[in-house]
Amino acid sequence: MRSFSLIDFVSLFAALRWTVALVVLALAFGAPLALGLAMGRISRFAGLRWTMAACIQVIQSVPLLGLLFFFYFGMPVFLGIQVPALVAVTIAYTLYTAAFLGEIWRGGLEAVKQAQWEAGACLGLSAWQQFRHIIAPQALRLSLPPTVGFLVQLIKGTSLASILGFVELARAGQVVSAATFQPLLTYALVAAIYFALCLPLTLWSRSLEARLDGSR
């Protein structure tokens, strides 16, 4: 056992790069997928709507830990191949992000009044043009507060990757805590770092929401 020192302090902060990396990967792959899901959910084709809805329901009704373990342990065994840990974890976080953001963005799309679509049609725009130029920008504005709110959930969700051995913040905390026998100091610091990451986003989300309410 050694005492808590500067090295431990730095290692906690260094672990943030994995936290950030996982978030970035999840968003990079999950956001486009979410957009597809959201658009599918409002499509004319009932079959498409139902399929997308079912996919989203399934992912939202399963623990994030379950998704992670399924793709990390389960899929490689099933496929009989070696799947790099990062790939498995990215798939899990991507699906998680796609499902929740998809629902949020669907809500945003549906909140844009029907009249806006009609106005676009009357101007002679195609459905895609209506979507791209009139509906999507408004939907984005409406969805921004809950999207930022989900970002907070995602950051907190990366802590689960610690269980699979990724040395992101939570894992680094476990390692340092075990090495220094200082669980209080270590976890307080870990919590403080997460807090420092998430609180500004939470406050930003709230101010966005307030601004939205004010402008309506």
Partner: protein, 219 residues
């Protein structure tokens, strides 16, 4: 793909699911009590108390549930409070659920127009009568969707208790996997069980909602 080896562990799975449900219900009830107390405090006039509740909410909403469970399980013993895994997870999850409940309940209470309360007071009803008959029913209805969806998230969140070796469903999964090596089947089944539980609760809540809140919505 071979699910047969899992069959002999069905009792453990059932036991695990029961523990999951116990943990969920306990944390939800405790969390709701905290939520009501917090909502009342936030609407009250004691400023330090309001700051305290605000601090609690922000702290528990902006830190991961996993870390909260670790702190209750690993850190509290240094203060002399050593809780077993289930109890530690229950405490941590109650506080987590409570932090979300305060906001939801407060929003529900605030959603009832002041006019309604005035009308009740002008009919000569006491403060408690106004609260119970005029404020509470619409507030409950408005808070209901948010509370029930948080409940389902809590159900799924109990899986984190596996990390401090509480005997809930996810921990049982790890146990079965270590015995059968059937990773895919085990985690597929576990996810299916969580899915079934989550959907059952959603259906149950939908039915309760229809039965309890029968008055028409505002046009």
């Amino acid at each position: 793909m071979n699910f047969l080896p899992l069959w002999r562990y069905q009792n453990q799975l059932i036991d695990g699911a029961i523990v999951t449900l116990e943990l969920t219900v306990i944390a939800a009830l405790a969390g709701l009590l905290i939520g009501v107390a917090g909502a009342v405090a936030l609407n009250g006039r004691i400023t330090p108390l309001r700051w305290l509740v605000r601090g609690y909410i922000e702290l528990f909403r902006n830190t991961p549930s996993l870390i909260q469970i670790f702190i209750v399980f690993f850190v509290l013993p240094t203060f002399g409070l050593k809780l077993p895994a289930f109890e530690a997870a229950a405490v941590a999850l109650s506080l987590y659920f409570g932090a979300y409940s305060v906001e939801i309940i407060r929003a529900g209470l605030d959603s009832v127009p002041k006019n309604q309360i005035e009308a009740g007071q002008c009919l000569g009803l006491s403060g408690w009568q106004v609260f119970r008959h005029i404020l509470l029913p619409p507030a409950l209805r408005n808070a209901y969707p948010a509370v029930t969806s948080q409940f389902v998230l809590l159900l799924l969140g109990t899986s984190l208790a596996s990390q401090v070796a509480a005997d809930e469903l996810f921990h049982v999964a790890g146990f079965i996997e270590s015995r059968t090596y059937r990773s895919f089947e085990v985690y597929a089944v576990i996810c299916a069980v969580y899915f079934a539980m989550a959907m059952s609760f959603k259906a149950l809540f939908a039915i309760i909602g229809l039965a309890a809140f029968r008055w028409p919505r505002r046009r």
